[in-house]
């Protein structure tokens, strides 16, 4: 295959340097020029007679989607060349390691699975918030920056809720890499963000066990199997793998999208709080599902019907993480009740909303007659009990609830840090007392949180 461009050539102000990669769909070069301050690459698709027909469309899709995306989890978009003259995409070159380097190394240590899982889920969530579904998530499309942040690349198969889906119009066959495709992609659905959550489950399963949950089938019959057949439980492959992680992995890998996590942020949340993962049969399973259950799933899969789906942002607005900041150190029933009332309007039982009940206590309390460790533990338990009691009358199922006792000298800082790390969408907090002076108001927890929060904040004041 001849290369489309020779090093040394200048295209629209970009000087083509050495070739970095050559694949079936195109060639990647390092480029310089146009006074861009960061390193760049140029992707040039293989077009024309004899080349894959998909190349034109995937080029158009990638150009459209990349130009619309922002943030630390995607390469910065620089420029695109027209199809009629010279098709190319110039973007930031991401420094880091491809997740494909982990291929064949599994099983890798638990902490590393969790670290990569949180990074990957955060990157996906950022994409989904921008109306984009990747649809080709696999290790070779993930670069991990030195700081641990994940960057997603290759948007040729992506779906963007604001644009016509050009691939859906021209191609009926499933596209993507067979080990990582979701069941709905196998039957041609391209607009469900939970497809990416399935692929995330495959990637993490592979890292945690060293095996692919559904192999690498090459026939359409082989691909369809994942519509009903469940994978070998990870704990049957790696004994030391904890039940909570199996619960998370199999929750991502549910064949029906509606049975999976509703958002990637919720996957990250569970990976960050293993003690809060509600264990079900999924997590404890020692072998694959029995014949009866398998048959039931097969029947369901045979009747698979495409539902009309909301845009990614609309789907996510139905699956937020809500944080209730409960001041367990100051018992005030009127305030607690006002907070519950506000939360009740936001979190409804049976929906995809998650409620994190959070309190902040002072670090290392001093108690007479107990070692500092014991004192700290009893202190945490006391506040955990108060948190649970606060939430009881909300009557939410356990899988929607979690409880967190944070330690910190400054409650506002602790709450803000938690909200950022857990991608909280809405924070509910009690108002400062009415008699605080204007100057004092600026120093209160609620005011500081409202000023600096990365999300919506509701400040609740009791009626009386």
């Amino acid at each position: 295959m001849a290369d489309p461009l020779e090093p040394g050539r200048v295209v629209d102000g970009f000087r083509v340097e050495e070739r970095i990669h050559s694949g079936g769909m195109g060639v990647v070069y390092r480029v310089t020029g146009r006074d861009v301050a960061f390193p760049m690459i140029m992707k040039v698709p293989r077009l024309g007679p004899g080349e894959p027909g998909e190349a034109v469309v995937t080029f158009e899709v990638e150009k459209m989607v990349m130009a619309a995306l922002k943030g630390p989890h995607v390469p910065r978009f620089v420029a695109a060349g027209d199809l009629a003259r010279q098709a190319y995409l110039v973007m930031e070159r991401i420094e880091g390691r491809s997740l494909a380097e982990w291929n064949g190394r599994g099983p890798i240590p638990l902490e590393e699975v969790v670290r990569i899982g949180v990074a990957l889920a955060s990157a996906l969530h950022s994409l989904h918030q921008q109306e984009t579904i990747h649809l080709d998530l696999k290790p070779s499309n993930v670069i991990l920056r030195e700081g641990g942040e994940a960057v997603l690349i290759d948007f040729g198969l992506a779906h963007h809720g604001h644009y016509p889906d050009l691939l859906a119009e021209e191609f009926r066959h499933p596209m993507g890499s067979s080990p990582y495709l979701s069941p709905e992609q196998v039957v041609g659905v391209r607009n469900d963000l939970r497809s990416d959550i399935f692929s995330l489950g495959v990637v993490l399963y592979e890292l945690a066990t060293g095996r692919l949950p559904f192999g690498a089938p090459t026939t359409s019959g082989g691909l369809r199997k994942r519509l009903w057949r469940d994978p070998v439980p990870p704990r049957a492959l790696v004994r030391s793998l904890p039940e909570w992680l199996q619960e998370v992995l199999l929750h991502c890998l549910e064949p029906r999208a509606a049975d999976r996590y509703a958002s990637a942020a919720q996957v990250a949340f569970d990976l960050l709080h293993p003690d809060q993962v509600v264990l079900t049969e999924r997590g404890r399973r020692r072998r694959r599902l029995g014949l009866g259950m398998r048959f039931l799933r097969w029947v369901r899969a045979a009747g698979y019907e495409e539902a009309s789906l909301p845009r990614p942002s609309a789907h996510l607005s139905g699956a937020p993480i809500v944080l209730a900041a409960v001041a367990t150190a100051h018992t005030n029933e009127a305030r607690n009740e006002a907070l519950r009332l506000a939360v009740r309007r936001l979190v409804v039982a049976g929906e995809n909303t998650r409620l994190a009940c959070v309190t902040v206590i002072k670090p290392s309390p001093e108690m007479v007659g107990a070692s500092p460790d014991q004192a700290a533990t009893s202190q945490r338990i006391k506040h955990l009990v108060l948190l649970r009691h606060w939430a009881e009358s909300l009557r939410l199922p356990p899988e929607q609830l979690s409880f967190h006792v944070l330690e910190g000298g400054d409650p506002a800082d602790a709450l803000l840090e938690y909200a950022r790390a857990n991608r909280v969408d809405h924070l509910v907090i009690g108002a400062p007392p009415r008699d605080v002076t204007l100057g004092g108001l600026l120093g209160t927890v609620a005011t500081k949180v409202a000023l600096d929060a990365p999300c919506t904040v509701t400040v609740v004041r009791p009626q009386s």
Partner: protein
């Protein structure tokens, strides 16, 4: 060049002026009216005069079935529409009727065709309401871009090598790249009588340089327009429609 596309104004002066003001803010320098200037609403005369003024400045105007019915008396319509057509006819001056009578069924500008309903048979007022009808209109139009009205809900059909057009429900205000190696059929939605549950007026803007197409929704004083419909003694259902957008 930025081209504003307005369809199905239906004698709603409040909606029309709101859309034109919005388009001007967006930098629109050319205007196309995709038919049905009159019918349903209470301001046929002022709407026709306003649009006639735009045409003198170079705007494209094509004929819709309601425009046709007012001057030709040949259409079969639902009773409310028929009453509105009769009412409209009596309110128009000879010059205004002559303007409607002189409107062409289609207009072509380069690789673009403007038609109120389907290019397949423009005078038969076929509703382009599914991919098959979109395919037929595109095939008959022999154009890269077909811009239409008649169906009141905004939708964009696109066709590439696959041949079968796919419908896409646009998000208001988001420019959609419309590369010329595909074919595009846009139904811009009704300015004067939206029917998708949203009361805001519809119109679309083409940016030639990109090229891109943006569907817009413009909130307007529908209460005033509905009050005029009632005051004119037109059927109550026509006033209610503006209040509910359906």
């Amino acid at each position: 060049m930025k081209l504003a596309l307005l369809a199905d104004v239906h004698a709603n002066l409040e909606a029309l002026t709101a859309c034109l003001a919005h388009a001007a803010e967006q930098g629109a320098d050319q205007f196309v009216f995709l038919g049905d200037l009159v019918g349903y609403g209470a301001d046929p005369g002022p709407v026709v005069d306003l649009v006639a003024g735009y045409r003198e400045q170079g705007a494209v105007v094509v004929r819709g079935n309601h425009d046709h019915a007012v001057v030709a008396r040949s259409e079969t319509m639902n009773p409310a529409a028929e009453r509105a057509v009769d009412w409209t006819r009596d309110r128009l001056s000879t010059a205004q009727r002559a303007f409607l009578e002189g409107l062409p069924l289609t207009e072509r500008r380069g690789d673009t065709l403007f038609v109120h309903a389907s290019a397949e048979a423009p005078s038969q007022w076929i509703y382009v309401s599914d991919p098959l009808r979109a395919a037929r209109s595109l095939a008959a139009a022999d154009a890269t871009y077909v811009y239409s009205g008649h169906v009141h809900e905004p939708v964009l059909y696109y066709a590439g090598a696959g041949g079968r057009p796919m419908p896409f429900r646009p998000t208001p205000g988001v420019p959609i790249p419309v590369a010329p190696h595909r074919r595009w059929l846009a139904i811009v939605g009704s300015a004067g009588q939206p029917r998708d549950g949203n009361t805001a007026a519809c119109y679309a803007l083409v940016d030639d340089a990109a090229p891109s197409l943006t569907f817009h929704r413009v909130p307007y004083d529908w209460a005033a327009a509905a009050a005029k419909v009632r005051a004119a003694g037109l059927p109550e259902s026509l006033a209610r429609r503006l209040a509910h957008g359906e």
